[in-house]
Amino acid sequence: MDEQTQVPPGLIHFSVLDEVLDLARANSLWPMTFGLACCAIEMMATGAARFDMARFGCEVFRPSPRQCDLMIVCGTINKKMAPAVATLYDQMPEPKWVIAMGNCAISGGPFVFPGQYAVVEGADKLFPVDVYIPGCPPRPEALIEGILELEKKLTGKRRWPVAPPQLRETP
């Protein structure tokens, strides 16, 4: 980014107001209804009755990028799709955040091999990513954890307890 396009930092800080704004933003994330591949089904499952993303203030899925502030990149971005995804990101109003859901959005996932011709190797090749959620696909719990992580990034502190992982005993 050159100097002219850079946004100068604010001269006056309203610290308490900023904190309130951050808290409000963290609790009313509006994600975009935007599915690329397999992970989109898990995103739908997260929004449905059992996992219920609404509990964390993140359920107002909007089909238009103009109304969203969170883009969940759920799936493989291929080279034909990349310009469209980049446009969607540009169309979102500031402030905006991006979650890369699944291995494909992180690095191209299982579709990377020498000589591959179709897959963009990670959403961060196109725009900055705030939270990465690994998995193929990640479970709905993982997506919720990613959203809580994003809230932590926004407000500076985590307001929800961390549940210890429950491992099933293997024979």
Partner: protein
């Protein structure tokens, strides 16, 4: 002063639908030429989800390609695995133990029910009703729990192996599946009351989006799209594979050819699938779940074969060509959605845009399956 119309001026305009649009279920793009609210031409533009599966089939060993199959049609992942392992087993001449075939049928049919439930919810969202999705996902989660307990995955199951399945089912799974069958059967009347009898739904579906049997044949449309056009073609009956000949089930057929017919076919298929699962659980034979002496690094002899299965969306086929090495020479994957979408351009001509979206939804498309 009166204005006289000298000639009717007809003006068309081009609009773009997708690749990001909630009604396109992912990354389908349609170039619409509209005459007012009516469609002059709707050209689907695909490839936004192309993930090189056929190329990877050639440069990975047979076993390494297995997880890929689950990521094509991820809503009904087990059918793609089914087709792929079936083709490779046919090439290599591997016989699958009977218990494994039964387990394959049980898990695949559970997956079909899950896929149809998801479709019903998503289709209703296309038509503007959000509530049914919450109900169908509730039931679908029960299936995912069952499948997770044996496959270890919620969505992209990689469960079948060459010569069987990787994990035997236990009593807990059997009891859980029986319980689920009872539960879903008791909920079917609720679905019919909630969806089928809903007047708005009926108005949006009855007589909308006709796809005739002839159109299906010319475009190669299969699955519920074809059965909703009155043709009783089901690969499970036409070219029986696995343990399917041992079960008694019907092929639901509705001759009306509209969106409602395709919806009813799927709802009836859920009931038929439950019947198959119940019979398979009753008759489940004992024995191993993996064939003996399947080599770790499979090298099928030189040859070529075709294997197709009835996926939740239609006939999924695999044409595998082996050159005697540990990697396939060619792995052609025939996706049912590919052919089902190709008939959209012809069928949507002259329809209202809102109706065309109902037609599009009723095709049950999974875009990365089309693009492969």
């Amino acid at each position: 002063m009166s204005i006289e119309a000298k000639s009717i001026h007809r003006e068309t305009f081009v609009i773009n639908l997708g690749p990001q649009h909630p009604a396109t279920h992912g990354v389908l793009r349609i170039k619409l030429t509209m005459d007012g609210e009516y469609i002059d031409d709707a050209e689907p533009i695909i490839g936004y989800g192309h993930r090189m599966h056929e190329k990877m089939g050639e440069n990975r060993t047979y076993a390494k390609f297995l997880p890929n199959t689950a990521r094509m049609d991820y809503v009904a992942a087990l059918f793609n695995s089914f087709g792929y392992v079936g083709a490779v087993e046919r090439l290599a001449g591997i016989t699958v133990p009977e218990r494994a075939e039964y387990i394959r049928v049980i898990t695949a049919e559970l997956n079909r029910v899950a896929s149809h439930l998801l479709w019903a919810g998503a289709f209703l969202i296309d038509l503007g009703g959000f509530t049914p999705l919450l109900y169908t996902f509730d039931d679908r989660e029960q299936i995912l729990d069952l499948l997770e307990s044996v496959t270890g995955a919620r969505l992209t199951f990689c469960y079948y192996r060459f010569g069987g399945v990787c994990n035997d089912i236990d009593d807990e799974f059997v009891a859980g599946t029986r319980q689920f069958i009872t539960r879903l059967r008791s909920r079917m009347p609720m679905y019919h009351a909630l969806i089928t009898k809903n007047i708005i739904f009926r108005k949006r579906c009855e007589g909308i989006g006709p796809i005739t049997a002839d159109v299906c044949r010319r475009y190669g449309g299969t699955g519920p799209v074809l059965r909703g056009a009155g043709v009783a073609y089901d690969v499970r009956k036409a070219e029986p594979y696995s343990a399917y000949p041992q079960f008694d089930f019907n092929v639901p057929v509705y001759p009306e050819s509209d969106c409602m017919a395709r919806y009813l076919v799927r709802m009836d298929e859920i009931v038929e699938s439950l019947r198959i699962i119940e019979q398979a659980l009753d008759k489940l034979p004992a024995g191993p779940v993996m064939a003996e002496k399947v080599p770790r690094f499979l090298k099928p002899p030189k040859g070529e074969c075709y294997f197709n299965v009835e996926s939740a969306r239609g006939s999924f086929g695999v044409r595998a060509i082996s050159d005697g090495t540990d990697k396939a020479y060619r792995m052609k994957l025939r996706s049912p959605c590919f052919s089902n979408l190709s008939l959209f351009q012809e069928c949507s001509r002259g329809m209202l845009l809102a109706d065309a979206l109902a037609l599009l939804g009723s095709l049950d498309l999974v875009i990365p399956d089309i693009d492969r």
